[in-house]
């Protein structure tokens, strides 16, 4: 079990949903479900952030016809990022608890 490699947010991207299932036997099952959902969240958050940035550039180029599209894309990206950060905090807290239990 390689919990020690859980570090910053960027390292989550290494744990795709696929790799989480192959090393199932090494993980605590309850922890694993939280983990899979968190990995899925990274992909969603990336997608929303990219869409927001594309909307920004499109607006600067004059390609967008209205203002609400840009604002809604920004808000979605912000919310997704906030959720992801909150989930990361939960995962880290769970990890600390588990580490404290085992020793």
């Amino acid at each position: 079990m390689n919990i020690a490699s859980i570090g910053t947010l960027g390292e989550f991207s290494k744990y795709h949903v696929g790799s989480a299932t192959t090393s199932k036997e090494n993980r605590n099952a309850a922890f694993e479900t939280l983990f899979k959902a968190a990995a899925q969240m990274i992909e969603d958050t990336n997608r929303y952030t990219n869409e927001a940035e594309e909307a920004e550039i499109a607006f600067s180029l004059g390609l967008l016809d209205n203002t609400h599209d840009l604002q809604i894309a920004q808000q979605k990206a912000n919310l997704a990022l906030q959720f992801t950060v909150a989930v990361r905090k939960q995962v880290l807290d769970a990890y600390k608890e588990i580490m404290n239990l085992q020793f």
Binding site: M41, D65, N66, H68, D69, L79, A86, V87
Partner: protein, 130 residues
């Protein structure tokens, strides 16, 4: 946990806001062409498309999550009714268009407000989870 269904209502509201924006453009074009001979007024068809996409017996949540938003686009149609008394073939009535403009503006404001409230509800969930 955020999933892809968290933004469903917001997506529907965004589509409706896009239709409202387009309707504003069409009404502005009608008003600009009030003196053009032979011009027929245009309007947007969207609400009927959305209603037919949201039919079903399930709960509103299920229906909203199932709707294919990429298939629903606001359509511009030309209104060929010739009920005006004008001799130059133009059927734009400036009072009707001004009234439609005000109604559409209020609708857009209400949609923007609803989207803001939806986002605020999601943010509130975040704050209560700290």
């Amino acid at each position: 946990m955020i999933n892809s269904n968290a933004f469903n209502y917001i997506n529907v509201l965004t589509k409706a806001a896009g239709a409202s924006w387009k309707r504003n453009e069409v009404i502005a074009n009608n008003i600009a062409n009030v003196s053009t001979p032979g011009y027929k007024r245009k309007d947007i068809q969207f609400e009927s498309l959305l209603m037919s996409a949201l039919t079903g017996d399930n709960s509103l949540d299920k229906r909203v999550s199932r709707v294919r938003l990429d298939r629903i686009e606001p359509q511009v149609y030309t209104d060929y009714s010739n009920l005006s008394y004008r001799l130059d073939g133009n059927n734009v009535d400036i009072d009707t268009e001004t009234a439609n403009l005000a109604e559409n503006q209020i609708k857009y404001y209400a949609l923007m407000d609803s989207i803001t409230q939806e986002f605020n509800r999601l943010k509130m969930v975040l704050q209560n989870n700290k």
